[in-house]
Symmetry: C2
Subunit: 241 residues, 2 copies
DNA sequence: GTCTATAACGAGATAGAC
DNA sequence: GTCTATCTCGTTATAGAC
């Protein structure tokens, strides 16, 4: 903040702090992969880094804060991958953009199975994620919303069914997530979002073992049908069937 | 096995063994809820039962065997709930039977969150489920297959899309799971199966917090659309749209 | 001010001798 | 089966180096 003469020294300090923080998180991620989030231990992390456990408290006030940092990093890493893939598909039709994002989610999950388990797997006993994780966690969802929003730029669409008992919830959902989208579209989006991670999780957690062999085309087809379920069509519009 | 004269004593012995086994599993389930599967420890279970850890090995040769028993029990408990709900819906249309089973899965999951996490959540580090879990794990899937099979008793249906690149996989899948169903139906079934657990998992693991409020009608609607996705129609047939 | 190290606490797991 | 000595853990207090 202060642009005083000590900026070099401060910069070095800050740089060192960033480096040590990164090293702590790297070691923690290795431990995550080996023993799972439930057994993540500050002492083991410190041991791996040749530090003493109390020194870690300069960087993370508690074990749970370290966990939170790992969770936010994982969400952001996934979000970045998805956004990068989406950027490359600019100009393509909405279905293509949708499936591109979905496949990026799957690819990231297969490359980072333990971080995926951390954010989309079983909750860690005794740990409750704070609200600070919400923005990072929302990135993939916002990306999907954006794709549907672009497709539905004009009026006149609909075609998605919505039972009367669900209308209040759909309207609340739309008001929260995408006020410019029709309620039934917002509802279909949330459904597709959960189903996307159902597909990824089943593959990653072994439920497809001995069931689905050729997983990439299977996944591509499944998410293409998810895109149809939210009203996207190949040629750009969202005017239902 | 041997129907000798000691059958009464043997029966008592066997009964005691069953009771102790059940007590061990109950205590293990409590520990599962408190600390998670990764920290399941034979010693802690023994302590809770006032036994000594070495005594447990007469009932479960290892911690992993105890875990396997809990997994099989969980799958069977879920399968029984789903089958019981399905039995009550006998005579109803296929969509109604489908949603009944799906809602039974959700209800069981909400009532047994830790057991759900054990079977459908993150894998337990260092543990690999043996093939003996497969029959129990298949029960819900078989139930869903049966519903679709009943609906598709006649010929002429189709309407489900299937890209050429997926045809071999779909045929292999159908041959394995339901040789009497068309390949595209088998494929759609597996997709819907994964998506069903995506919906349940998202609710249970907190992803719907601050997003979906009125979850029961949301879920009902979502799985109704899943039923349509496998070709089921309210009036009994499976003749596509 | 910023960091690391020593030491300690209370609680719990673990291994082995008996 | 029991007991004990030795580990682990998260966390804090404190003292000293830069």
């Amino acid at each position: 903040m202060s642009p005083a003469q000590g900026s070099t020294a401060q910069g070095a300090r800050a740089r060192a702090r960033i480096e040590v923080t990164a090293a702590i998180k790297d070691a923690a991620r290795r431990q995550l992969a080996a023993d799972g989030a439930a057994k993540l231990s500050l002492r083991a992390v410190a041991r791996e880094l040749g530090m003493v456990s109390s020194a870690l408290y300069r960087y993370f006030p508690s074990r749970d804060d370290l966990l939170t940092a790992l969770i936010i990093d994982a969400y952001n890493s996934l979000g970045e991958s998805a956004e990068a893939a989406h950027a490359k598909a600019e100009g393509a039709g909405p279905v293509r953009r949708w499936t591109t994002v979905c496949e990026a989610v799957r690819t990231w999950a297969l490359a980072h199975p333990h971080e995926y388990a951390l954010i989309y797997g079983s909750p860690v006993p005794g740990y409750s994620a704070p609200d600070t994780t919400v923005p990072a966690a929302a990135r993939v969802g916002l990306l999907l919303i954006g794709i549907v929003r672009d497709a539905h730029h004009g009026p006149g669409l609909g075609e998605l069914p919505l039972p009367a008992e669900l209308r209040p919830e759909a309207e609340r959902l739309a008001a929260d997530l995408a006020p410019d989208l029709p309620p039934e579209t917002a509802m279909a989006l949330v459904t597709a979002w959960a189903q996307l991670f159902g597909l990824v999780g089943f593959e990653l957690f072994g439920q497809f073992n001995r069931v689905v062999e050729d997983r990439e085309p299977f996944f591509r087809h499944a998410v293409t049908r998810l895109a149809q379920g939210v009203g996207l069509t190949e040629d750009g519009g969202g005017s239902g069937s």
